[in-house]
């Protein structure tokens, strides 16, 4: 039986962003995620591993996977590089964070993302040069504020239920040059299906050329660990996290933030195989 052609083409492409020292490119998709049927670009999402400057409240099962190096955030960051992560997501609270980020950028030499309060983010953006950071904002207000002083770094548009296109427009009006869109965190509960639909919908809008929809998408799936008690096995928690990562990557996320090295490894391998690398 002769089958009808099912491949599709799209009038637009997702924006490309260069992060780190210019050696990592994210985005640039011209098809739904990974789909060779529609002429996918063979590029996988990048995986960031998170590190904290304090271990208060940090999941003990996750901590067990870092061989004690999680007690020093610089060592922890270097360990993420050794584990094969594409980047490090630093969750910072201390006043000396900007200098700390600069040291980690110089030591790890992979892309760095920073999550912190507005003051720390502003000072870090001014302090770090020579490497493009991702400034991970935790709400619309912070996204708009950081846009005023992003110093050429990438600013995350954290969409708290509002239109991503509108928020990005306001951020650009405030001075943001490079934007990554965050449509919500990935958790292994009923919200995952809605998040998947939001990401896939945004990606399709981008491919169809809807104005304001061509930005790359970031998704943080570390909250999947919150579904488990402290005594959960690291393997089980990692599998949950990896499945959430796979879900958002297949929906179209270009950057994924994970908590555990197991999930980072699985997500990277999934991405490589699906992107046919």
């Amino acid at each position: 039986m002769r089958l009808p052609k099912t491949s599709r083409s799209y009038p637009a492409e997702i924006e490309e962003l260069t992060i780190g020292r210019g050696d990592y490119t994210v985005g640039g998709a011209r098809s739904p995620a990974f789909l060779d049927l529609d002429g996918a670009r063979h590029r996988r999402p990048v995986i960031f591993g998170e590190a904290f400057d304090t271990l208060d409240g940090y999941h003990s099962s996750a901590a067990s996977m870092f061989s004690g190096r999680q007690t020093d955030i610089e060592e922890w960051s270097v360990m993420w590089k050794e584990l094969g992560a594409d980047g490090i997501c630093l969750r910072l609270t201390r006043d000396d964070s900007p200098d700390l980020v600069r040291r980690i950028v110089d030591r790890a030499r992979i892309p760095v993302m920073v999550s912190a309060d507005t003051d720390i983010l502003k000072r870090t953006a001014e302090t770090v040069t020579g490497s493009t950071l991702v400034l991970k904002c935790d709400g619309e207000e912070q996204s708009l504020e950081i846009s005023k002083c992003s110093c050429g770094h990438v600013v995350v548009a954290k969409c708290d239920g509002s239109s991503p296109a509108e928020l990005c427009e306001r951020m650009m009006a405030n001075g943001a040059e490079h934007i990554m869109v965050d449509l919500g965190n990935g958790r292994m509960d009923g919200s995952l299906g809605e998040l998947r639909d939001r990401i896939a919908g945004y990606r399709m809008d981008g491919l169809m050329g809807v104005p304001g929809s061509q930005h790359t998408v970031i998704c943080d799936v570390t909250e999947t660990w919150d579904a488990h008690s402290e005594d959960v096995s690291a393997r089980r928690a990692s599998m949950f996290e990896a499945m959430a990562a796979l879900t958002v990557m297949m929906a179209g996320a270009d950057v994924v933030v994970v908590k555990g090295p197991g999930a980072a490894d699985m997500a990277r391998v999934y991405g490589e195989e699906l992107a046919d690398l």
Partner: protein, 212 residues
């Protein structure tokens, strides 16, 4: 549906333990929610005996897998009221499998190496009166799962031969879990795996519950 396999070459005692273990996983983790009895012996007696055993110990859906429609038809009699899915129909045996599917009112799963062959088989099964068809494309890795399941989904919009549920046959271990996950994310397919451990069962069940 996520089905795990019980082979008819298993010793009776180990088969009882296996079914009991799968029942426990179902109660604890929500998966598997079906058992597939596979005719690895290529003989009638052990297959029929294993189907009887599963019938008595497992209350959920049943899948029967055999390349031989005669063996499968005889083993099917005691569980016909459970309307098991029948796996094993190919271009070589479609007529006999279609008869079994029609007599026992059971869904029939069709297997072919490529989509053209699968659509031919689907058209033939429909012409032979099969009421419930499932499609089992041969897929060897998660990349093929993504591409082929998407292709079938799109074909189903324009071809009645493709507008049937997809069944994915996979192996055991974490890679099998990932194959299953990719399939569930592209299409709400039926998964039949050789085996998945407790962590994999819980993870897949959580994924299915999260995205539906």
């Amino acid at each position: 549906m996520i089905a795990l396999t019980v082979s008819d070459v298993s010793e009776p005692n180990s088969a009882v333990l296996r079914i009991s273990e799968l029942s426990k996983r179902m109660r604890t983790y929500g998966a598997p929610d079906a058992i597939c009895v596979r005719n690895d012996s290529f003989a009638e007696e052990p297959f029929t005996a294993m189907v009887e055993l599963v019938k008595n110990l497992w209350t959920g859906p049943i899948v029967l897998e055999s390349d031989n429609p005669a063996i499968l038809s005889r083993a099917l009699v005691p569980v016909m009221d459970r309307r098991p899915i029948l796996i094993g129909a190919t271009g070589d045996n479609i007529e006999a499998f279609s008869i079994a599917s029609g007599i026992f009112h059971c869904p029939l799963c069709l297997r072919a190496d490529d989509l053209e062959g699968l659509m031919d088989l689907s058209a033939k099964a429909q012409s032979l009166g099969v009421k419930e068809i499932l499609l089992e494309p041969v897929m060897r890795n998660m990349k093929q799962c993504l591409e082929i399941c998407t292709d079938i989904k799109r074909l189903s919009e324009v071809m009645p031969e493709a507008a049937h549920p997809v069944l994915v046959r996979t192996w055991s271990g974490e890679y099998a879990m990932t194959m299953a996950a990719v399939t569930l994310l592209v299409d709400d397919a039926i998964i039949v795996a050789d085996d998945l451990d407790e962590d994999s069962c819980e993870t897949l069940h959580a994924l299915v519950s999260s995205i539906r």
